[in-house]
Each structure stands twice: as structure tokens, then as C-alpha cells.
Symmetry: C2
Subunit: 792 residues, 2 copies
């Protein structure tokens, strides 16, 4: 139990560290050498480019900012961050980012009036003539508790003030949620309507295409949609199982990095001949010239890749039972995406195609039948992970103690035996396993989501966010309130009457207020300030810059602007909402801390979105229904817990009043779901038709077929896309299909014949190490970029 002074000390430390982060950021961001770390978005947008080293007058000023005036106003990024209007942000960074920022604004809108009311009304109610003043101060009671509901005497009539405020806060939150849902829904529709023509508006992804013996998959798809959507079907794109190829690409890329590294080293010191050992991990084997070695390796890889690619294209088995089917109008695509196609409801499953950069190609190869099993297994795993995650950690901890360390690395023994180091390690090691676990948790959850088989990055991130939220809810929120591990809680819950659970949790809620205040300061304040500093990207960028970067393009690739990390930020945001709503009537003194978090995080993320992040995809705020429903869940949790708390205070006659509230809240949620959610799941025909008509009048002779022809080409073929010839060949092919709709001709089982051009286009000739068959197209496929991030 912390006293007010303890809180003050903690606040001071955290404010100080947040301040230190901000100061460091202010200093670092002004150095030109860090420009690409702190303003990468502008480089990507084309707003900035590296100053040419030759032309610069002052060599030093290229790296260090010597204009000392700029140091004086080190917080001037804050007003800059606020300047940009919402419409500009949507243009600059997309709707996802703009709506993400709105969550923080929503937090402020919800909690500012709540804080004012709660502090003005509840603090006097709680403080005056409380019970706790009569108890001995050093017993169990902190100063904070005197401001909380714990201070009110049992059976007091004052609890009706709390109940009234719970009603008020619920109504206020619901009102704000309603307005926000309405606004975001409209934003989404406006955004979708204002978008230029986009391939995903015309395209539907079809899964589980049945295999018809004697017909190629491509013919089956053509035939099916020509029959069932005769007026709207345009063309389709087959999907190849290129996961093996993608793996080769990744490996080759790693070799390329090593080659670059050695090349650069050699360029700098031509007198030094670099050699490496050929064997495993470079630990043994014959010494050879490094550059030669890697060049050979890459050459061998290129050969393998060419073979593999040809195998993929030739082998009809590598065509997956998935296709991207394009229509000649948004209306046609919208109809196909929303309807059931086949008599067998597990075949010909249609859904909106994600935008091309949002497709997670690897999962398209997952057989459809295994999806439900995968989902079951993953839900079981998530349940296990949430409730039993401490078990494997304890196991690792038992291994990773000092004896284990000494056995593995006996040479460390003299160091370990030093008393100071020993005690440090003993205090540190057990915690380390937990820290590592929590650090890799988002990655684990993302891998789990991938195993579930979603085919869009946006869906993957939303699913990972949901899992992380459950973890946080059980282990951070409930786990902090109820002592013991989540597993012990689960066990206790199963053996308690259902009415006892909210009571048990309710009792301890006011006592944990100080813990959560500290949590908000450490995780919220300092964490957010750390986010703006970007220590890790800063470090990696300079490392890469030193060892790998040769060309301007290399430097661009080393930049790694990152993106809003939805799987982590959304759940923690939702946790703050939960804390604020739960404690609003219980310990209102917690609310100002939440407010500071929302305000600071808003500024920081606004700055990052404007200057740093580069979103991988645009889901048009598809995450909003989740945000909404989890805030509703927070309301429900707060109501049930307040009910439990009041029942321990023997304010039992207030129970009926509080039972109505969850019912009303749920009804509100259901209403919102019906009213707004379809805007996030479906694409109304009215909208589709309006855009179609507009386009038909403005661009009457648009060649949609050519526009859509290669939109969903698998990334491995993207490299050939630059060849005009290829595109034409494919378009011809499809036209010949439509020209002869009689399906009597024996359809050729051979895959589409591409004309492969093995010479490089002129603008890539500077990149000498590119293999004849593979190189990065102007905009490298997001597929690989993504893999780097995950496996890095």
C-alpha cells in the first residue's frame, strides 16, 4: 500500500524519465544523420532526399546540427504535430492512422468530463466522515484509499451517489461511443467513396475452388463465373503455391547482405583480402575469398530459384484452389462477395479481396478443410497461454538458474562466484525469463494468428490484437487485482459461486488503485515517451548504414519506418479505457493519470504518424468495431465489479438499480452493432452502383481488364511485370476465353504461358549483383518486406 508520497515519488521518477526520453529525442532528431530515423515518412513520400555528400559546403553539418538556436525550442514538435488537420492526415498516412488517433481523442472526450465530475463530486463524498479515519493509519490503509469508495461506511446512503455516477458515466460513454461510431463509419464510407479506382473494389477472393477432373483450375473458375455471373465476370488470377520459392528469396537476400557487407569492406580497404570459412556457420572448413564465395553462392541460388520458379509455373499442382476473381463493376464484385455461390456451402467461398499489399500470400496455400481445426487448436492454445503461461516460464526459470549456467559455461564460474554478481544474477535471472516471454509474446500471438490461416495482414493484426487483449485482461487487470496466478484464479473461479466472483474482485479493486497508477506512469507515460525516441530503429539504422549501405536504394531499405503496431497498441489502449472506466467511481484520483497518458500518447503518435510510420496496408478503419465492443466490455466489467463491491458494503438494496445497467448497456451494444457494423463488413450496393455510374460517365472508355490484369499477380511474378509483352499476352489469353464461351473445347491443363524475358530492364543495370531471374521491382513486393520484419 503506497502512500500519497510514494505515488508522488514514483510520479516524479516517471515524469523525469519521460522528460529524459523527450529531451534525448529532441536532441537526436535535430541531427541530420538521424533524419532518416525520425522523418522516414517524408523520404517515402518524396518530401525529402539525402543531401548529396559532395555538394554540401560543411561536411560536419551533414551529420551534426550546429545551429544551436534550434536546440532551445526542443518541444516544438508538439505544436507541429497538432497542426496537420485530420483530412491532411488521411491523405498523408491513410484512414487507419487517422482513426487510430481518434481513439486517443475519444479517450480524452470520455475521461475529461468524467474526471471533472468524479473529482468534484466523489472526492468530497468519499472523504468526509469516512470510516477509514478511525482506523489506525499504518494498518492496511493508504492515503489513496481515503479518497476512494472504501472510505464510505457500509450501508451508507452515499452509495447512491456512486450508483448515480455509474449511470451517468455509462450514459456519457455510450453517447460518445455512439457519436464516434457514427462518425468513423461515415469517415470510412467517405474514404471508400473518395478513393480513386482501386483493384480491390472489383475483386473477390474465392477459396476452396473444387477440382473438376479433366479441367484445369483456371478453366473451372472461368466456367463457373461465366455461368453464374455472366454480365459481370471479367477475369481471374490463379494463385501459385510459392512459399518454397519465397523461402529461397529470403535466403538469397541474406547472402546478398553478406556480399554487400564484404564488398563494402573491400572497397574501403582494398589492401585487405577478406576470407571466410566455408563450413557450418563459418566456424570451420576451408578458407576462401569471401566475395567470391558469396558471389558463387548467390549464383547457385539463382539457378535453384529459376528451376523452382519454372517448376511452380509448369506444375498444375502448385496452382492453389484459390483465385482472385475480378468483375467489370463494383456492383458485380459486391454481389459476388456477399452471396453464397454454390450448393455446397463449403465450396466457392467468396469474400472481398484484401488490397494487394495486404494479402498474406503464404496462408493462401492452407487447405480450407484444415482451417476449422486450426482455429480450434489455436483457441485452445490461446486459452492455455492466457491461463497457464507461468508454467513454462517457471520451467525455464528452473533451468536458467546459476547452477545451470555454470554447468553450460564453466569458464564463467569465477565471475559468477563473485558475491555481488551472484546476488545480482539470482535476482535478475528469474525475472529475465518473464521479461523475454513478455517481449516475444506479441510475436507468438502473431504466429498463432498466422497459423489460424487468415489471408490478410490487417486481419492477422486484428486477431493478434484480440489475443493480446485477452492476455492483458486476464493477466494484467484481473491478475493484478486477484492475487495468485491466472491458473489459480481460474481454479478459484470454478469453485466459487458465480455471485461470489465479482464480490471477491470488487473488494480488492480499490486496494489496487495505487498499483495501477504506477502502472500507468511506467507503461503509459514513460513507455510512450520511449516510443518517440525509436532507440532500436536508430541503432539498427546506423548499424546498417555503416556496414551494408552502398546505394541510395540500400539506404532507403535500411530505413524501416515501421507502422502503428496495432497488435500491441490497441490492446493497451483498451486496457487504459478499462482502468479509467472501472476506477471512475471507485477511486477517481486515478483518472488524471489516465488523462495525461491519453494526451501525451495522442501527441506522440500524431508526431510518429506524420513523420515516421509508413502503413503496410489500408484497412479503412476495419478495427473500429473491435475498439467499440471492447470499451463496451469495459463498461460491463465495471458495472459487474461495482455490483460486487457494493454487495460487500451491504448496500444490497441498490442491487436492482445496478442490474438494469448491464442489460441496457448490452442492448446499446446490440443496437450499435446492427446500426453501424455492416458499414465495416459489407459494401452496400447503393454505394457500389453510385461509384460505377460516376465512373462510367467520367471515363466511358476505360479498359478495366487491362487495369485489373495483373493486380493480384503473385509477388514472384511481379519481377516480370515490367515487361509490357507479358501483360498483353495475359490479357489476350483471357479475351480469347471470353470470346469462346462454349466450354466444349478440351481445356488445356497447362498453366498460362508466360513469355519470360531474362534480360534486365535498363534502369536496373546499375545493380550488378541482381540475378538474371530475380530482382526487386521499383516497389518491392510487401510480402518480403514483411517477412524481414517478422524474422528479423
Amino acid at each position: 500500500m503506497a502512500s500519497l508520497e510514494d505515488i508522488g515519488v514514483s510520479a516524479f521518477i516517471n515524469i523525469l524519465s519521460a522528460f529524459a526520453f523527450l529531451l534525448a529525442f529532441a536532441l537526436l532528431r535535430l541531427q541530420p544523420i538521424n533524419d532518416r530515423v525520425y522523418f522516414p515518412k517524408w523520404y517515402i513520400n518524396g518530401g525529402r532526399s539525402s543531401p548529396s555528400p559532395r555538394r554540401s559546403a560543411n561536411f560536419v553539418s551533414k551529420f551534426v546540427n550546429l545551429n544551436f538556436k534550434t536546440y532551445l525550442t526542443f518541444l516544438n514538435w508538439m505544436p507541429q504535430a497538432v497542426k496537420m488537420s485530420e483530412a491532411e492526415i488521411i491523405n498523408h498516412a491513410g484512414l487507419d492512422s487517422a482513426v487510430f488517433l481518434r481513439i486517443y481523442i475519444l479517450g480524452l472526450k470520455v475521461f475529461v468530463p468524467m474526471t471533472v465530475v468524479a473529482l468534484l463530486i466523489l472526492i468530497p463524498v468519499n472523504v468526509s466522515s469516512g470510516t477509514l479515519f478511525f482506523l489506525r493509519k499504518d494498518l492496511v490503509v493508504s492515503d489513496i484509499d481515503k479518497l476512494s469508495i472504501s472510505n464510505v461506511r457500509p450501508k451508507s446512503i452515499r452509495f447512491f451517489v456512486h450508483i448515480a455516477l455509474e449511470y451517468l458515466f455509462t450514459i456519457w460513454t455510450c453517447y460518445m461511443l455512439y457519436k464516434e461510431y457514427d462518425y468513423v463509419g461515415k469517415m470510412r464510407l467517405r474514404f471508400l467513396a473518395s478513393q480513386r479506382r482501386r483493384v480491390e473494389q472489383f475483386t473477390v477472393v474465392v477459396r476452396n475452388v473444387p477440382h473438376v477432373p479433366g479441367h484445369s483450375l483456371s478453366d473451372t473458375v472461368d466456367h463457373f463465373f461465366q455461368t453464374n455471373h455472366p454480365d459481370h465476370y471479367l477475369s481471374h488470377q490463379a494463385v501459385y503455391n510459392a512459399n518454397k520459392f519465397a523461402k529461397l528469396v529470403r535466403k538469397r537476400d541474406r547472402l546478398q547482405n553478406w556480399l554487400d557487407y564484404h564488398q563494402l569492406k573491400f572497397d574501403r580497404h582494398p589492401e585487405k583480402r577478406l576470407t571466410i570459412k566455408q563450413g557450418f556457420m563459418g566456424f570451420w572448413g576451408e578458407r576462401v575469398d569471401a566475395i567470391e564465395y558469396y558471389k558463387q553462392q548467390i549464383k547457385a541460388f539463382d539457378k535453384r530459384m529459376t528451376l523452382e520458379r519454372q517448376k511452380i509455373i509448369k506444375d498444375s499442382k502448385s496452382i492453389l484452389p484459390v483465385a482472385f476473381v475480378s468483375f467489370n463493376s463494383r456492383w458485380g464484385a459486391s454481389v459476388c462477395a456477399q452471396t453464397q455461390q454454390s450448393k455446397n456451402p463449403t465450396l466457392w467461398l467468396t469474400n472481398w479481396a484484401p488490397e494487394p499489399r495486404d494479402v498474406y500470400w503464404r496462408n493462401l496455400a492452407i487447405p480450407f478443410v484444415s482451417l476449422s481445426i486450426r482455429k480450434l487448436l489455436i483457441s485452445l492454445s490461446v486459452f492455455t497461454l492466457v491461463f497457464f503461461y507461468l508454467i513454462p516460464i517457471a520451467f525455464v526459470q528452473s533451468l536458467a538458474n546459476l547452477e545451470g549456467l555454470e554447468r553450460v559455461a564453466p569458464f564463467l564460474r569465477p565471475v559468477i562466484e563473485l558475491k555481488f554478481i551472484k546476488s545480482f544474477l539470482q535476482g535478475f535471472l528469474p525475472g529475465l525469463a518473464l521479461k523475454i516471454f513478455l517481449y516475444i509474446l506479441p510475436t507468438v500471438l502473431m504466429i498463432m494468428s498466422k497459423i489460424e490461416g487468415h489471408i490478410a495482414l490487417s486481419t492477422l493484426e486484428r486477431r493478434a490484437a484480440a489475443k493480446y487483449y485477452y492476455f492483458m485482461l486476464v493477466n494484467v487487470f484481473l491478475g493484478s487485482i486477484v492475487t495468485g496466478t491466472a491458473f489459480q484464479q481460474l481454479d478459484a473461479f470454478l469453485h466459487q459461486p458465480p455471485t461470489q466472483i465479482p464480490r471477491n474482485i470488487g473488494i480488492s479493486i480499490p486496494m489496487k488503485a495505487t498499483f495501477f497508477i504506477t502502472y500507468i506512469m511506467v507503461d503509459g507515460w514513460a513507455g510512450v515517451a520511449g516510443e518517440i525516441l525509436r532507440l532500436k530503429p536508430l541503432f539498427i539504422f546506423h548499424l546498417k548504414n555503416m556496414f551494408l549501405v552502398k546505394t541510395e536504394r540500400d539506404r532507403e531499405r535500411a530505413m524501416n519506418p515501421g507502422s502503428v503496431d496495432f497488435p500491441e497498441t490497441l490492446p493497451s489502449l483498451q486496457l487504459y479505457f478499462l482502468l479509467g472506466i472501472v476506477y471512475a467511481v471507485v477511486t477517481p484520483i486515478l483518472l488524471p493519470f489516465i488523462l495525461v497518458f491519453f494526451a501525451l500518447a495522442y501527441l506522440v503518435y500524431r508526431h510518429q504518424i506524420i513523420n515516421v510510420y509508413n502503413q503496410q496496408y489500408e484497412s479503412a478503419a476495419a478495427f473500429w468495431p473491435h475498439v467499440h465492443s471492447r470499451i463496451i466490455a469495459s463498461l460491463l466489467i465495471s458495472q459487474v465489479l461495482l455490483l460486487g463491491l457494493l454487495s460487500t458494503k451491504k448496500a444490497a438494496n441498490s442491487t436492482p438499480l445496478l442490474v438494469i445497467l448491464p442489460v441496457l448497456t448490452l442492448s446499446f451494444h446490440k443496437y450499435c452493432k446492427n446500426r453501424f457494423e455492416p458499414a465495416f463488413r459489407k459494401y452496400p450496393l447503393e454505394e457500389a452502383m453510385a461509384k460505377d455510374l460516376l465512373e462510367r460517365t467520367t471515363e466511358p472508355d476505360l479498359n478495366l481488364k487491362a487495369y485489373l490484369a495483373d493486380a493480384y499477380l503473385h509477388p514472384i511474378f511481379q519481377s516480370f511485370e515490367v515487361e509490357e509483352e507479358l501483360v498483353e499476352v495475359r490479357v489476350d489469353k483471357h479475351e480469347s476465353h471470353i470470346g469462346s464461351p462454349s466450354r466444349t473445347e478440351p481445356s488445356s491443363p497447362s498453366p498460362p504461358h508466360y513469355i519470360y524475358q531474362t534480360t534486365l530492364p535498363p534502369h536496373y543495370n546499375n545493380n550488378q549483383t541482381s540475378p538474371p531471374g530475380y530482382f526487386y521491382p521499383p516497389s518491392s513486393p510487401p510480402h518480403y518486406v514483411y517477412h524481414y520484419q517478422v524474422e528479423a
Copy 2:
């Protein structure tokens, strides 16, 4: 606790009463006078007609069967009932009935092997060296218990036999369910595919049409669908709020009945002048001639009805924001039914239109906004009804005791004071309230479903069935196992740990086996045998025949064949499945009783469906997903209860084995839902397109517009439908709309102008009492028929 002998006696009594019912049925059905009660379906199908009284040689044989040979084989309806093949039944009575019968066959398929295995394996396992033999026989243990799981010693290894069988039975049930779902789904699709052209295949019901100022609703609908479904939209039919008119029709009909009654009386005894009192309920007022009085009343009513009808047609406010929109192809309708139309997802809500006779017109007038509130209120009411239904009954009972009766009717005092009658009443009256409640319960649940606002009779019946199932589950199944009222159970459940509940129920399950055996015999055996006797329709038919029937048509209307009473039969069927599945491993001796029920009920309902029932609508087995999921629920309940039971037997190490089973069962359910349910909810485009193409080739010059023009005309306009002129006028009107799609003309706010013909069509002139404006069309609208049933 009943002994085996008690069960034997009970079985004997119930078999005897079932036998008596069957015998009575066999005797009654052979009498020609009852022919219309026991074979109405054949009259409706046109297979039989009343023997003309004049032509008959023997007058007596018209009423009584004098051929004594036929009495000897009084059970010969059974083989007759089995003779008809399933395909014939579908033709004869529709798919709903055929699939309904399949539920009984499914019951036999599930339980026959289960019974054999359970009796062969479990009885020896349970009986040998049981614990209960050592206890005193007269303590708490019945003979039945010796055959049950109670007889196995705690911690015995034999429980693994029970667990293995639970697995086996679950797998077997799931396998049968899977096969059946597959088969029924295919039957449904085949049935839909084989159907002739039907209006509902082309029609979509649109709810919540927005009001556009300055435009009539009809114009708004036309404009919207011409814009958004330009290639498919054909026409639409507005819906009028004619509920007030329908009430007048019902009142007028009652008057007509009284007139018929007096007319008939007068015809038989022309010398007697019938008079009635004019005042309230005929208790006071001036005496007038009855026939004249009713004729005048009917005349007055006709005037009111004409006025009301004109008001409805003239007043644009009586046009509801609902429309039946027809398309020129099944594909177009299917697309419209499955997609979202408007940006605002609460407007322009489309769904498949029910077939015209399935429409519950009255609910179309319910404002859409109130639907969610209605649903919330009704779910709360159902919850209250299920858990607190005993409270109002106790209240009524407290009023309806002897003192209350004496106060209301003092003249009864001398009778009541007789000791014999007093004790009889005191024993009887309290039970009476409960009996009355249970008797009116289905009606109450149906009214609740109606308040929920569903617009199809089939949906109403399914919703009522669901409510009845919850009631049975809580009050019959759980209520019999756990002592105390449902409310007390609820209270106990809330204050018990979740793990304790299945344990408490599990303990008492084996003890209640005898009760349920008796229940099966009374409710199942005797109840089903009573169903075939049709005592109530028999009574009412003869009553009507005596007092009201003048013409052949009157006799037909008096017939009331009824239909499969889904709201009652489905839930009780599901209860028998539950009992069978729960007791299969606990007290297998219960299974043969279930088997007898399924076999007997199958024969009885097959006979009734072939000879008696006349379905009001055809939902193409839309109830099957509910049947399936409730049997799955039964499996889950049985697994949880067995888990509870075994945990009291200290067979705790078996817990993990049993915990897996519900997870697997749920996964199976989810799989089935994905695999089969869409066939019951959606109409695949492939199917629609195939039928469209077929029709286009077979009937190239079909005038669909004329075919659909008045399909969904409100029943009050059905009387005019016979006029060719009207149809043409309406078609012309729509064509002119399509001809001029430019919406610049100020659309007239006046409703469609119908040409009203007030003369009667020739074939109705024999019905002299028909009002000039209203009469029954050849197929009287199901709307009114239905109301009679409910309000009778």
C-alpha cells in the same frame, strides 16, 4: 422411489389407456360420419367428397359403418401408414411433414443400436457386485437403481466402461446427425429445385423503406431498385396497414356464424320465431327477431368495412414502409436478398419473402425501430416466464380457493359445504390453475413470438417452439431432477460454484429415472395415442355440423384438419432425445421406453400427416437446424452431467477424458453449422442461375410480370383479384414507370389507382350472405383462418 413392480403397473395402465385410445380411434374412424374428422386431407386434396344424401341406398350406412368385417382388423391403419413412400409424402403433404417424420426415424436410428449396446454391456457391468445390494432395500434405493450407474462402487475401474460408452454414443449420435443433416439439406435443395415456378423465388421483402419527402413510397421503392438493380428489378407491391379492417372481418364473421345458426334453426322449425335481446352479450335490451337483427348488423358492418377499405386505399399513411419487391430472375432476387442495399444498414433491409400463405400480415405494420426493443422485452419475459412461472399461478391459486369461490358465488355455498365436494375441490382447484396454465402456455408463447414481430408464420412457429423448449428444459427436465421451483434452482445456481452444479444434478439423475419412465409413458405413449383420436376436433366438427353447416363449403370450413403442431411437438421430441441421451449410460433401462415412444409416434404422425393434417405453409424444412442444434445441446448436457456424476463417484482421474468430449462435440456442431446451415438460410446463386436458365429455354416467352403482379397483394384486395381488368391496370402502371426512368417528373403522392368492381363474380352468387365488398376467395386467405385458430 418406485420399484420394478410399480413401473410394471404404471406401464400396464398406460399401455391399457393407449390401447383404449387406439381402439376408440379404430372404431370411430370407420364411421362415415367421422370421415371428415379422420381423413380431411383427402377431402382437401380432392380425393374424397361427401356422399350425396339422396343417392345413398342405405341412409344409416351414411353415418354408421355396418360392415362388421372392417372392425376385425382395427390396427390396419398402421401398415397403411407405412406404405406411402417418402417421395409420395413430400408430394402429398409437403417437405415439412416428410422431414418432421424423419426426426422420429432419426430417433430410432440413434436409439436402437444405443439400446442394444447399453443393455448388453452396461446392465451386467452395473448389476454385478454392486454397492447397493449391501444397503437396506427399503432405504432409498429402487430396483431400477440396481441396473443403473448408482450401483457401481465409487472409484471403481468400471466407470471407464461408462466413459467409453459415452464416447461411443456421442460419436454414433454425431454420425447419424451428420448423415441426416446432409440428407435433409439435399432433400431441401432438391425440393426447392424441383418446385414449379413460385412467386417467392422471385420476391424479396424490403423493410424500413425510408420516407422521401415529396415522393410516394411506391415511387421511392421504384426509384431505388431501378437504380441499384437496373437489370433485374421488375415490380413491387406496397403493403397496407389493414389490421383494423382484418378485425372488422373477424367480427363480421362471428356475426355471420350467429346468423347461420339462427337461419338453420329457423329452417328446421319454421314455426318458432327466434328472438334475442339487443343489449350487451344478449343479457338485456329490447327483444328483436334474431335473423333480422343479425342481417341488419351484418349490413352495418359491411358499410363500415367498405368505408374502412376505401380509407386504407386512399390514405397514403396506411401504406407501410414495407414492400414486396419482385425481380425478373431468381438470380436477381437471390442477390437482393443476400446483400446490403443502403449505406445506412438499418434502411432498405432485404430478405427472402415468405410464400404468400406464410406471410403474417399483421406484423408487417410493426415499426422497424421497435423490433429490437420488442425482442429485448420478450426475451426478458421469456426468462421470467421460465423461471418465475409458478408465482402468478400461486397467486391465482390463492384467489381461487374455496373462500374466494364462496365470496364470488354465494349461491354455491350449500354445494361446496358438502364434505365430499369440499375435499375434492380443495384437492382439485390448486392443480387446476397449473393445468390451465400449462394448457394455454403454447398460446402464450405464440403471442409472445408475435409481439417479437416476425413476419412469417413459419418463423413464428419456430420461435414459439424455441421458447417452449427452454421452458421444458428448465421446468420439466431440470425441474424434475433438482427439487424446488425453477426460481429456487436459479437462486441456488447463482450461489453455487459452477463445478458444483453438474455434480448436484448428476447425483440426482439416476434417482429420477423412474419418474421419467412414467413421464414417457403418460406423456409419450398415451399422449400420442390420444393425438390420433382427435377428440377435440371430433367434438367441434359435430357441433358445427349440427348448428352451422348449411352448404358443402361450410362443411369444409368446419373440418379444421389442423397441422403438425410444431411449437409443441418439436420441443417435446427434443426432450425425448435429451432423456434418451442423458440416461443412455446412466440408467439404460429407460431406453426401451423411449424406443416405444419413437416407434408409436412415428406411426401415428405418419398416419395423421397422410390422412389428417393440412399444412398452412411450406418452409422446406427450415426447422431442421434447430432440431440438430438441440440434439447437440442434449449431448453436451449429458456429458456435463456425467462428468458431475462421476466426480461424485470419486472417479476423478477420468475427468480429463470427459472434458475433451464437449470440446469435440462443439467442434462438430460448428463444422455442421458451416457445412450445412447455409443451405437453410441462403439460396445459392448457382442454383438460382440454373433454374433461371432452364426456365428461359423451356418457356422463352413467359410473362413474369403478369405472373407476379398480384402475388403479394394484401388479403383485403384478394377479393378484387379475380377481375382481369385490375391486373392489367397495375401492370400497365409499372411498365410506364420502367418506360420512363427519368425521375424528374414530380411523382404523384396518390396511391395506385385500382379500378374497383363491386359486383360479385358469378361463381360466388350462391353465397347469398356475402357482403358486396367482402367474401372468401376460392382459396380463402390463410390470414383469417389462422386467426380463428388462435382466438378460438
